[in-house]
Amino acid sequence: MSGYNFAYLDEQTKRMIRRAILKAVAIPGYQVPFGSREMPLSYGWGTGGVQVTASVIGPEDVLKVIDQGADDTTNAVSIRQFFARTTGVKTTTRTDRATLIQTRHRIPETPLREGQIMVFQVPIPEPLRWLEPRESETRKIHALEEYGAMHVRLYEDITLHGRVATAYDYPVRVNGRYVMRPSPIPKFDNPKLDRNPALLLFGAGREKRIYAVPSWTSVKSLDFKDHPFTIEKWEQSCALCGAGDSFLDEVIVDDKGGRMFVCSDTDYCARRREPTR
């Protein structure tokens, strides 16, 4: 597309963001401040993720964009088209064929492999924000590893609901050091963060933070010894592909209360329904 630089951002900005990414990779889970730019989409629609993607994408990349696991929702389609137009790279909906995947709220069911990069859109990067509104203080807590109060929230959940009710954006400890918000992925996806072969990058545009989980880094969900971390389970299997191991969405199909459960990962579901050769 003429009139725009490759991947929309100017080269100086990309360099600045790459420096932030390098620092984030060097200190897993640490939130690196960066000079977030105005992007041609509004805050909350993935401005952080788009800037990270724009900074790491190259002409040889194959891009996949998902929103809540789906390739065909407005946000995913718009961002995919945006990069197709501004870079000319190939796009795909297949997890195994993509080299770069931007995501909102899910990690694909198909296991990632080494060499792939996953970019997460992050609304609120600070895991301590709910208990401490001051940024100066939360930074100090991170620096001094005073993470005890993080468990107060889990304690409250167990006390009030009998179990940890936090179902998404479930806090994790990265590499035994920094406590990190994994972005609003369901806790179902948390185990996929642990020792993942792909490079995981997180971008928060409004909050101007980038952080990362390098390949093969240990990521542990916070829990109590007598209330260990668990993931969601369903009694149903996917109504379309029959998968019993995927994250399911409940879909209302009529106005008489009819409903069905289907895979949230549309690519995974479609692959399973393809006739096997």
Partner: protein, 263 residues
């Protein structure tokens, strides 16, 4: 930082503690020894510098000059006024505790009573829900809060209960030094009496050392073993509580003692 036999060293030795706010003086050349198991009262009118002393020692204000040697659990001595932030904050959540005048400043009002008591346990690494809960229940009992209130928000508690909850939250990790800033200041008289009883019992049972700031001489008489009387930032008289209150020497102390209203 040399280990010394426990009996010969005070828990906290303060010398020349001075805090200036620009031209104004918060406290000037304050010095005292606090021994293990001892409760020291800081009395004086508002603006006499009591709270400046307390805040400097608790690490909430930076002292202008002076030193305060603290005898740690491991037998070493550190100057807490010059301690880097990381070890000072570690001390603040293990060996020290701060009871605020307004319990709302010392509590997390958005989480249940049990979580408030359990927070310090979690902060020192406890990761077993059942044990945290048992300990919280035990402490609610010790501060005379009905145990069935453990899952209630502090906002539903009365003023006296809030203050007792704050005390349970502070003492759950068995600190060795407790700072109290007007612990009964916001309470009415009968509730005050009950809280003082409780504090006296806890201090005696646990062998706590405490520095209690108060303008209420009756509170000082009940809680403190020794008193420092402050005026305009300086210590003008010190001694055993009974001695200071029954036979005040300094004209200001005499004025202070004679100003107490008799019902």
């Amino acid at each position: 930082m040399t280990p010394m036999p426990m009996t010969q060293v005070p828990l906290l030795a303060v010398r020349g503690l001075t805090k200036r706010y620009g031209e104004r003086v918060g406290c000037l050349d304050v010095g005292f020894d606090l021994w293990s198991g001892e409760v020291l009262g800081l009395v004086g009118e508002s603006g006499s510098g009591k709270t400046s002393v307390l805040q400097c020692l608790a690490g909430r204000l930076e002292a202008t000059a002076g030193c305060a040697d603290f005898f740690q659990r491991d037998g070493t001595i550190v100057d807490i006024l010059r301690l880097p932030e990381a070890p000072r904050r570690r001390l603040a959540r293990t060996d020290w505790a701060m009871v605020q005048q307004n319990p709302r400043d010392g509590l997390r009002m958005g989480v249940t009573a049990g979580a408030n008591v359990g927070e310090r346990l979690m902060a020192v690494g406890e990761r077993h829900y059942g044990r945290i809960r048992r300990e919280a229940l035990d402490w609610l009992g010790q501060v005379e809060i009905p145990q069935d209130r453990i899952d209630d928000l502090p906002g539903t508690f009365s003023g006296g209960m809030l203050q007792r909850l704050q005390i349970a939250r502070c003492l759950v990790t068995r600190p060795r030094l407790v700072f109290m800033d007007e612990p009964t200041g916001a309470l009415d008289v009968s509730v005050q009496a009950r809280l003082l009883d409780l504090l006296r019992g806890l201090v005696a049972d646990l062998g706590l050392s405490a520095i209690v700031v108060t303008h209420d001489l009756a509170v000082a008489r009940l809680l403190a073993h020794r008193l420092l009387v402050m005026k305009d930032g300086e210590v003008i008289e010190s001694g055993l509580t009974d001695q200071v209150l029954d036979d005040p020497q300094h004209p200001y102390t005499q004025l202070l003692v004679s100003s107490v209203l008799q019902p």
